[in-house]
């Protein structure tokens, strides 16, 4: 028996789920979200999952993909971590990265996730493109969307990447580097990883940062915010533990986990206008409270990327 979750649709098989879905539908029908169409990539359980809302007066995406590996292998990521959309001018990738966690198993999952991303972002195989990676099981990768001349479409990769790119991307490097797993409910914490480079706060371990940096370097992508704002300090997008701001060791400590990575070089110069984090301009002391105007009740703030509206929009102008 093949079990098929419709990972592009919200669950509605019980009264509770129908009510939840109805609530989302209502929000989507009200201004300002009524101007958007929603695309979802859902997990099979009530966790993770990503969504992309696209304005109705914007070109409908030419394709929507929910997996980074060959369709023959997997139609959609089972935890709904991937939404890839192709427009005429750009490819847009929204991901919720696997958290490194504290255990061997979770770290292995993170490595596999990084490998998947690397295969998608960096592969150059032209032969794959005829089938778009849809039928080639041997090559477990979805092809990067291409332009008509065969070159890669410019990519905008965003999401909660669950990793800090560099030291300047955490508020207290020494603190995060020395974090250890804590035992839950009286149980002993998991053992320290054998590799010292796997130790520390998930998202800030040396190994993760190494892989992250190698990945974006090889994929020739640049961090739009850093490109425009340099090494400015205390530019965090995540603060404290979910639901807890008043207490806890993470109070007032932040990480930069939410990024816009885009094509570097000419494309960047010709197309990117601005990249702003909702926390920009908010005093450090206030950030510990996760102000509503930047976080909207979450532990992550919003980040905004704007492209130049005149010129550069079409493929011929940008290449």
């Amino acid at each position: 028996m093949i079990v098929v979750f419709s990972r592009g649709e919200l669950r509605d098989d019980t009264k509770q789920y129908r009510e939840d879905k109805a609530l989302i539908d209502v929000v989507m029908r009200q201004k300002p979200l009524s101007r958007y169409r929603a695309f979802w990539a859902c997990a099979d359980i009530k966790r993770a999952g990503v969504g992309v809302l696209v304005k109705k007066d914007v070109e409908a995406p030419q394709s929507v993909t929910r997996s980074l590996v060959s369709h023959a292998k997997k139609e959609a990521h089972e935890e709904g971590r991937v939404l890839l959309m192709e427009f005429s001018s750009v490819a847009f990738l929204n991901v919720y990265a696997q958290n490194n966690g504290w255990t061997k198993e979770s770290m292995a999952k993170r490595r596999a996730w990084d490998d998947e991303l690397r295969a998608f972002l960096c592969h150059e195989s032209e032969s794959l493109d005829a089938s778009g990676g849809a039928t080639n099981e041997a090559f477990p990768v979805v092809s990067r969307p291409r332009q008509t001349d065969g070159s890669r479409k410019p990519l905008i990769w965003t999401g909660d990447l669950n990793a800090c790119h560099r030291e300047v991307d955490v508020s207290h490097p020494a603190f995060f580097a020395s974090q250890k797993a804590e035992g839950k409910n009286g149980k002993a914490p998991v053992e320290l990883p054998a590799d010292p480079d796997d130790r520390g706060q998930p998202g800030f371990t040396v190994n993760e940062r190494k892989r992250f940096d190698a990945l974006v370097t090889d994929a020739k992508l640049v961090d739009a915010y850093r490109e425009l704002h340099g090494d400015a300090e205390m530019r965090m997008t995540w603060f404290g533990h979910p639901g807890v701001t008043r207490v806890g060791k993470y109070r007032g400590r932040g990480m930069r986990l939410d990024y816009f990575f885009v094509d570097g070089g000419d494309w960047f110069r010709e197309n990117v206008e601005s990249c702003v984090q909702a926390t920009d301009g908010i005093p450090v002391a206030e950030l510990a409270e996760r102000p509503d105007r930047a976080f909207f009740g979450s532990d992550h703030c919003a980040v905004l990327l704007r492209l130049k509206s005149a010129g550069g929009g079409t493929t011929s102008e940008s290449r």
Binding site: I2, F5, S6, G8, E9, L10, R11, D13, D20, I24, V27, M28, P32, L33, F39, W40, C42, A43, I45, K46, A48, V50, V52, L53, V54, E59, P61, S63, V64, T65, A72, E75, G80, F87, S88, F92, N94, Y96, S131, G132, A134, T135, T158, G159, D160, W238, P242, D258, D292, R293, G297, S298, D299, H300, A302, V303, L304, L305, R306, S309
Partner: protein, 165 residues
Amino acid sequence: MKRFFAPVGGSSDPSKRARGDGGPEGDAGAGACAPDAPTRQPKSFMTWNCNSFLGRMRKELDKKSFLRYVEDHDPDIIALQETWLPAAAPDRYDTFHCAERVQTTPEALPPSPGVVVQGANLARSQLVGTLTFHGALCLRIVSREQTNKASRRRSRRARITFALD
């Protein structure tokens, strides 16, 4: 009976690749091919890990601040993470999407005509009399038996019998 159906990846036909898939109104990109379909390219992008979209939209203050930000910055695209909205369950068959999502192959068909699919959601398929599957197979709906009259509007559950034409 579901074993007769295998999921179609993103569909091998690129022109059919999930265009407008999963819109909240189920319009499934109806206007995408229309001559007056918008061609404006997305220029502004927002990302936000909402740590449960449902949770945020349930709290007035969170919802208000989020919508305020969207109103103020008017992004063309909003990327959300950790929506915590689970996927439609595996036993839910929506005939509206059958043509896109489900494929049968001649080998997969039963020796005698007549496949029964249970628990299909017929809410949006009132006008569908014939379903065309991939591989140019045509299955005719022989009978439709409504099994759940209580939630008539939202999810009309029914037993459908298909026959091979």
